[in-house]
Symmetry: C2
Subunit: 149 residues, 2 copies
DNA sequence: TCTGAAACCATCACCTG
DNA sequence: CAGGTGATGGTTTCAGA
């Protein structure tokens, strides 16, 4: 889908605050809210906008510990192993990467005991991984900045 | 702030779809929309809800390449170096971690040339980093799953 | 936490250049 | 054919109970 500067401006606004009323977006970009409604609908259809999500402070809901986990995967077992990773609730992200690891996960858990549980009772029981390293997140300085659209 | 099961249910709904009307949340949890409005307002105040964001497909806006970058930082230079990293537009996340790296970044750029630019014209010019590794994301199997609230 | 009311908003069919 | 208008029914928001 081709996006013009107006679409991009709408995306910037919704990325910063997904609950901005269309009527206010319309005021800001100097168009009618019917047009904004139209454009947003088309971008949703086209998959440009994948959803709208509240950003929640993990600590407030008792999830105080996060970590990245790097894994090496044995050839031929990729799909099975990924399927099993996806079933683990603590796993927030799964990326296939070049470099030292084949798979990089992000875990979010309650505390260090939750980390132990995820690592030793869930991830290490999956066959197909040969090596792993856990990088506990001590602090997050910048999280999920808006895309430079 | 103490959250009860009703607050958590509201968070689950807004995490899945931040544009869900309060009136519909009210129907689902069998309360009035005034109460939902109240509770959401209190959770925003308390910092439990940090914002509402449209999730945008990076490819659709021309950002086709992402990478994690691990960095080692020299003692005593932490703050300066982090300040400079934060100024780089391509840097989406900055985490301080245990393990092989001290800092783990996530970059989002247009293409491999954007990666080169970020790495060699921006990051490697910052003093205080001694070693780095770039892990290009080949595929993302799972991204930013909802927190298990 | 609710009710009720005013202001506001989304949404749609139907125009208009 | 993108964009606008205007009507209508739903939604937000707030005071008061």
């Amino acid at each position: 889908m081709d996006l013009d500067e107006t679409d991009r401006e709408i995306l910037r606004i919704l990325q910063a605050d997904a609950r901005t009323p269309f009527s206010e977006i319309a005021r800001r970009i100097d168009m009618s809210s019917a047009t904004v409604h139209d454009r947003v609908g088309r971008m949703e259809e086209a998959g440009v906008i994948e959803g709208y999500h509240a950003q929640i402070d993990p600590r407030s809901v008792g999830l105080g510990t996060s970590a990245f986990v790097g894994l090496r995967i044995e050839q031929g077992r990729e799909n099975d192993a990924l399927d099993r990773l996806r079933e683990i609730e603590a796993v927030q992200e799964i990326h296939l990467t070049t470099g030292e690891w084949d798979v990089l996960l992000r875990l979010t858990v309650e505390d260090t005991d939750g980390l132990r549980e995820a690592m030793f009772e869930e991830i290490s029981r999956i066959e197909g991984f040969s090596r792993s390293q856990t990088m506990v997140i001590l602090a997050t300085d910048l999280d999920d900045r808006a895309l430079p659209i």
